[in-house]
């Protein structure tokens, strides 16, 4: 990320125009029941934060999807990470939210409380500084995030090699979003009339990538920005497509999303990663939905370097994030929601992450 200028032209609609759009959505949804899913956790949060559900028609339901990188990280991956950190005395370097996600034997926070080194960084390049400052210790950088975060991590990996850092390894937990969207549609567990496509991810992957994945589905998919005005206008646009029986990939986030996406970022990622299968919380193994380091970088791969004595056995908990992520359960339908499970004492990742559906409902829709 080097400058902020690309979003300088925010399309700001006035209150009267908002009123008009909301009225139009009501008119379009007048007869029938409609279900729309927002894939992305940032949309989930903004929809809750702006109370958008409260001004939409009752018969238009917004369901939240699996678009929260921390939430979809599988228990076995967290357990593996904590396992190798303990066994090999590794320092763990990660982005924020992950440290609070409870695994079978506590979270990374617990690991830190037990005296292990767990560092939260804002920029992945900080991991290099940390590793260089403590050459006697081995570190593992946790690569988490969708297509949006991967480019900066790919850059970091190239730097690790360039600088010859020998004590920093990489655990790729990255996930790719189009395959997951497709898997969700294929599962057919929920009936959807339309989809709100993720804004940031699409900025990177472009409209084309979605078209490849969704070409066999008769459902409209509209990529939107994250401001409440973007979302309301986008929902209106999506409802029109639904009513007209049009399907395909559309974008109302024209200030950021192009057909090709960010080719520079895509190339950077392709240089460093190969596509692999990946386990998603709630969705299981999704083919070609993850990233692993290319053979050229495999000497940095934590999975190849650090093995546990026995495979992790995930302990089942009462948390129902899996169902929440698939859109089959609303947060408040989980018996733990807001009673036992709160952002200060989260029982599952959907309550931990700022992009998690349970957190969004708790913080903004729990009045």
């Amino acid at each position: 990320m080097s400058n902020l200028s690309y979003i300088k032209n925010l399309t700001k609609l006035g209150p009267e125009e908002i009123q008009v759009i909301v009225q139009k959505i009501h008119d379009l949804a007048k007869d029938g029941e409609y279900v729309i899913m927002e894939f992305c956790g940032t949309h989930t949060r903004e929809i809750s934060r702006y109370g958008i559900r409260s001004i939409l028609p009752k018969n238009l339901e917004l369901k939240s999807g699996p678009g929260c990188p921390v939430c979809v990280t599988a228990d076995e991956d967290i357990d593996y990470l904590i396992g190798i950190a303990e066994k090999y005395d590794l320092g763990v370097i990660t982005f924020g939210d992950l440290v609070n996600v409870p695994g079978s034997n506590g979270s990374l926070n617990h690991l830190r409380a037990k005296g292990k080194e767990v560092k939260v960084v804002y920029s992945p390049l900080e991991s290099i500084r940390i590793a260089l400052q403590n050459p006697q210790k081995n570190y593992v950088m946790v690569g988490i995030g969708f297509e949006t975060t991967v480019p900066s991590l790919a850059y970091t990996i190239k730097k690790i090699v360039e600088l010859g850092v020998e004590n920093l390894f990489y655990l790729s937990l990255h996930k790719l979003t189009p395959p997951a969207m497709k898997a969700l549609l294929d599962a057919g567990e929920i009936k959807l009339d339309g989809i709100i496509g993720p804004g940031h991810v699409s900025t990177i992957v472009g409209i084309k990538r979605w078209q490849e994945y969704l070409k066999n589905y008769k459902i409209p998919f509209v990529i939107m920005g994250f401001e409440p005005e973007d979302v309301l206008y986008g929902i209106y646009f999506l409802m029109k497509k639904i009513k007209n029986g049009e399907y395909g990939v559309f974008s109302t986030y024209t200030r950021s999303v192009s057909s090709e996406g960010n080719v520079f970022a895509q190339n950077l990622v392709d240089e460093v990663f190969d596509v692999s299968d990946s386990v998603w919380r709630g969705l299981g193994v999704i083919p070609k939905s993850g990233l692993e380091l290319k053979p050229k970088y495999s000497h940095l791969d934590a999975r190849k370097k650090f093995a546990l004595d026995e495979p992790v056995k995930v302990r089942k908990t009462a948390c129902r994030c899996g169902e929440v992520l698939r859109g089959v359960l609303k947060p408040y339908e989980c018996p733990l929601f807001a009673k036992v499970c709160t952002p200060t004492n989260p029982k599952g990742p959907c309550m931990v992450s700022s992009e998690g559906t349970c957190a969004a409902y708790y913080l903004y829709e729990n009045s």
Partner: protein, 334 residues
């Protein structure tokens, strides 16, 4: 070789005395401190306020300040918002072994400048050095003492429905700017912390108006958390208007990119005031005439004494609860 802080600098021996005599006294000299007694000794016989705060920040040097300036102004702000005129500070360092002495001097010079600008004195202090990796570079604790003249003491004024909520300037700047720094984003000159000493602005307001019923500076947790503190302390319902929240354009843009809500982002030079309706306009006029209050705005009002909650009226016309900050504030990775 570059001079660095060693364990010996905190051991109480000669290395420490050298550090104190050469550097601390050089930068912070004043008659009370120079006595080098175990306590700074002074006389006062009025209503006093005492506060303390610890400062931990990364990066320690930033565009328009550093951990030293922050540790002075932060404590001065805590004093002035209760109506106290700051007089004396204590200053304690916890330094990680290996910290460059040049950086320590830079911090001391900055503390000295901040004190001179504000007319306060450091009259006692302490230094501890901890082993490498047992602290992140340098931590500073300051305590401050100030006197409260009776007319500035707002504590017994009663908050009532229709009182207005005023914020003295743009919100969220310090927190978002520091986040951008940590991410290594190149930023324009206008993108910086709002770090400032609010003493003159706030004491000036308290001198002029007797209907200022509450003042607090918005720091960690941002304006939203502060408003929630008012609600639970006084049992009042507050309504805030999103559209009226003063916010610089870069704050808006950065918050969209990072996914961080400026209303939860830290300030270091903004205060929130609860003001009786009859004086609100005049208070606003005064604040805006001051360089540190030129963007002062009414952002909401006290609605009732029925529920202790903050509600936000959003710009798209919806109304929802505005919670205090839960957990950490982190950039999105989605």
């Amino acid at each position: 070789m570059q001079d660095i802080i060693l364990m010996a600098h905190g051991s109480g021996g000669d290395a420490m005395r050298n550090l104190i005599e050469k550097d601390f006294i050089k930068y912070l000299s004043n008659p009370i401190l120079n006595e080098l007694l175990d306590s700074g000794v002074f006389e006062l016989s009025e209503r006093l306020a005492l506060t303390t705060d610890s400062y931990v920040i990364s990066p320690i040097f930033f565009k328009n300040g550093d951990i030293g300036r922050l540790s002075v102004f932060g404590t001065l702000n805590d004093l002035c918002v209760v109506g106290a005129k700051p007089l004396f500070l204590s200053l304690s360092f916890i330094i990680e072994e290996g910290f460059p002495v040049a950086d320590l001097r830079r911090i001391l010079a900055s503390i000295s400048q901040a004190c001179n600008e504000s007319g306060v004195k450091v009259i006692t202090g302490d230094t501890k050095v901890v082993e490498k990796n047992k602290a992140d570079k340098i931590f500073i604790n300051t305590a401050g003492i100030g006197v409260i003249e009776k007319h500035r003491d707002w504590r017994n004024r009663k908050i009532e429905p229709n009182d207005l909520i005023i914020v003295t300037g743009g919100i969220g700047e310090h927190g978002l700017y520091i986040m951008l720094e940590r991410l290594g984003v190149q930023t324009d000159d206008e993108v910086k912390s709002d770090l400032s000493n609010l003493t003159d602005l706030i004491l000036g307001a308290l001198d002029r108006f007797d209907q200022i019923k509450f003042v607090r500076d918005a720091t960690r947790g941002g304006v939203a958390t502060l408003l929630n503190e008012i609600c639970s302390k006084y049992g009042v319902e507050i309504e805030v208007y999103e559209q009226d929240l003063p916010m610089k354009e870069w704050v808006r843009n950065a918050s969209e990119v990072l996914g961080i809500d400026p209303i939860y982002s830290a300030c270091e030079g903004r205060a929130v005031l609860v003001v009786g309706k009859s004086q609100a306009e005049k208070v606003l006029e005064y604040l805006r005439s001051h360089p540190l209050g030129k963007d002062a705005t009414v952002i909401g009002k006290v609605k009732s004494t029925n529920v202790a909650k903050v509600y936000l009226l959003t710009r798209i016309g919806t109304r929802r609860v505005l919670e205090s900050l839960k957990g950490d504030i982190l950039p999105r990775i989605c």
